[in-house]
């Protein structure tokens, strides 16, 4: 019974002559998915991100201990000790538990940057590309100036001014991350700006805001989404770097970069305290990179391997 329904859905998706717009669009997505599925590395990346999401959602259920409660009798226990798979830190807190809860913080940062930087970049890029002329000149010059800035150092200076904390770290990262999106969005806008369908909408009396939002922005979305996926690894690394320097999340939060910095004192005797959270950062960043890489091959056939 279930198999028959499944087969029906598959046939509907594979239909060569779609009867509705929804079917055509679903078919396109399905084809993309099939192509992505053939790339084993991309599927590994996807799996890592799904695990990250699950862990972040169910951290209290999955974690064996409390992430913050200290237990000085059990401090600095090595990995594989009874009840502490990855050992404990200098306050006797279970490292596995803290990493699981840390997934929430990482996801929080990623989500906040995703809803700010690309949106700002998209708006600036499409407006610049659509209007052209001096608007384009001014906006793109500004973009170039921000691109010329070393990102990490600008973020450092911003956090130094705003004061340490997750929100300020996110703000600093977002303020330094938008220019590439503006570039991408502008390039896409220039290719569609003079097309007939835009002219048709304009003749129907649509204003600039409506044209940009309703008809230009959707065309820019695919390339911006790829860029976001590829950038996420960088965002995670920057956030961890800020945390490591004590400028991001503050104790007792179990942010991964902060955990590495706390373990630095014990590096040569209790190596696991600094090593484990670093592994978590590496695996998650790798996941985003692998998926982004695969997505680019699917959505942008030009850069795909021949």
């Amino acid at each position: 019974m279930g198999g028959a329904v499944m087969a029906g859905v598959m046939a509907w998706l594979r239909e060569q002559n779609p009867t509705s717009r929804a079917q055509a669009r679903a078919g396109q997505w399905f084809l993309g998915w099939l192509r992505l599925k053939r790339n084993p590395l991309a599927m590994v990346g996807l799996a890592i991100i799904v695990v990250l999401l699950v862990v972040a959602a169910f951290a209290p259920q999955l974690a064996p201990h409390d992430p913050i409660a200290q237990n000085l009798r059990e401090r600095l226990l090595p990995p594989l000790t009874d009840g502490h798979l990855l050992g404990t830190d200098d306050f006797g807190r279970d490292i596995l538990t803290r990493i699981l809860y840390g997934a929430r913080i990482t996801l929080y940062i990623v989500a906040l940057v995703t809803v700010t930087a690309p949106v700002v970049g998209l708006m600036i890029g499409t407006v610049a590309g659509y209007f052209g002329g001096w608007v384009d000149e001014v906006l793109m010059r500004t973009t170039d100036i921000f691109l010329a800035f070393p990102r990490l150092i600008l973020a450092l200076a911003l956090v130094a001014v705003l004061g340490p904390g997750i929100e300020n770290a996110v703000l600093a990262i977002a303020l330094t991350a938008w220019p590439p999106y503006a570039r991408v969005a502008r390039a896409e806008t220039l290719t569609v700006r003079n097309s007939d369908y835009i002219a048709a909408v304009r003749l129907q009396g649509a204003g600039a805001a409506r044209i940009i939002w309703g008809h230009v922005v959707p065309m820019c979305l695919p390339s911006v989404i790829i860029r976001v996926t590829l950038d996420m690894a960088g965002v995670i690394l920057t956030a961890a770097g800020l945390g490591f320097l004590g400028l991001g999340a503050q104790p007792p939060l179990s942010e991964w970069g902060l955990m590495i910095s706390a373990g630095r004192k014990y590096l040569f005797e209790q190596w696991w305290v600094a090593t484990m959270p670093g592994l978590a950062i590496f695996i998650v960043a790798l996941g985003f990179n692998l998926l982004g890489d695969g997505l680019r091959d699917v959505l942008d056939p030009r850069s795909a391997g021949k």
Binding site: L41, R141, I153, L154, A157, L158, L247, I260, F288
Partner: protein
């Protein structure tokens, strides 16, 4: 004759365009740091005169710092001073920021240069290998190793490197640029012409010290070089694939030219052009990316200077360092752009 002048005009316009965009970008850079510096919640006057100062003393300090002038005037004074190399005084040490920055810069430059060299040596052949055998095992390995380089928190990698190669194996020197003993000898016995230990000791013929410096730089430079290799190998692969699809390659092959010559002479010549930009970009990135590495390896470079200043809220030092790195960043981009135009006749 007429063609000659138009050519000259073109060159002139190109150079002029470069100068204008360089000035505009640096101007923007200074504007951003100025704004950041002005919104600091730390009152610069209070930190100088102390909390018990009288109203008159506060007023005097305000006038002395030029803070009584309108904001736009303050900005132009700031820009004017910056173009003369005056980036203000460090609050922490009372020393001009520019002096400290020039003292710390060579260490960062040395590290980034060695790292870039390592990145090119490893990255270009890896990229070529992947491009000539697309879809093969070698291609996948290069790709995966590259992506891992993109995903590695470099400060964590530094800690692990210290743990394994210094703590466990003892193969390399620990943090710092030299062993403590050599560190003192360097200060007293070696003429510091460049501030880069490798060059200074080589000029002075102190090969024992040179070897010690190598054992200290190899780990941080190797780690940064890995990150830069990840980027360079990836770009080399894509440029090389692009060239190998061209017709002139087919022609060369049909003529019976050895494959090695086709790849390394014919295709490579065209790959080099965009590759210059990539290498320059990764060099610029390393100049700033060394911030975290330097704190791990106690490397007395610009990155350490900026982060140390951050910890005590010494904003003139932080912003001055930011400006210098930013200018180096812009300059490197410009140089790569110029080189690109020199190498590629189509871009002239």
């Amino acid at each position: 004759m007429a063609m000659n002048t138009s050519l000259l005009n073109g060159r002139l316009r190109m150079v002029l365009g470069f100068v204008v965009s360089l000035v505009v970008t640096i101007f923007g850079l200074l504007l951003v740091t100025f704004i950041i510096g002005r919104v600091v919640p730390i009152d610069p006057i209070l930190s100088i005169v102390g909390e018990r100062a009288t109203q008159a003393q506060i007023e005097a300090a305000r006038v002395a710092l030029g803070l009584d002038k309108p904001l736009w005037q303050q900005f132009f004074i700031y820009v004017f001073n910056a173009f003369q190399g005056d980036l203000g005084m460090s609050i922490r040490t009372g020393e001009p920021v520019i002096d400290a920055v020039t003292r710390h810069f060579p260490a960062t430059l040395e590290l980034a240069t060695i790292a870039t060299i390592l990145g090119v040596i490893a990255g270009v052949p890896a990229g070529v290998l992947a491009a000539t055998r697309p879809g093969s095992m070698a291609d996948h390995v290069v790709r995966l190793v590259g992506l891992m380089g993109y995903s590695m928190p470099v400060f964590w990698l530094g800690l692990i490197g210290l743990l394994v190669f210094y703590g466990q194996l003892g193969w390399v020197g620990g943090p710092g640029r030299l062993d403590a003993m050599y560190d003192m000898m360097y200060d007293f016995e070696v003429p510091q012409r460049t501030g880069m230990i490798l060059l200074d000791t080589a000029f002075a013929g102190r090969w024992d010290m040179f070897a010690n410096a190598i054992s200290h730089i190899i780990l941080p430079a190797g780690l940064l070089g890995y990150v830069s290799m990840a980027y360079i190998s990836r770009m080399t692969r894509s440029f090389m694939m692009n060239e190998l699809g061209q017709e002139y390659i087919t022609t060369a092959r049909v003529k019976g030219m050895p494959e090695r010559r086709v790849i390394w002479v014919h295709a490579m010549r065209n790959v080099l052009v965009p590759l210059i930009t990539v290498v320059a970009l990764s060099y610029a990135y390393l100049l700033e990316g060394s911030v975290l590495t330097e704190t791990i390896f106690a490397w007395p470079g610009l990155g350490s200077y900026i982060t140390d200043a951050l910890m005590v809220a010494d904003m003139p030092a932080v912003l001055g360092g930011t400006v210098v790195v930013g200018v180096a960043f812009v300059a490197l981009n410009m140089v790569s752009d110029l080189l690109y135009r020199l190498v590629d006749p189509r871009a002239r």
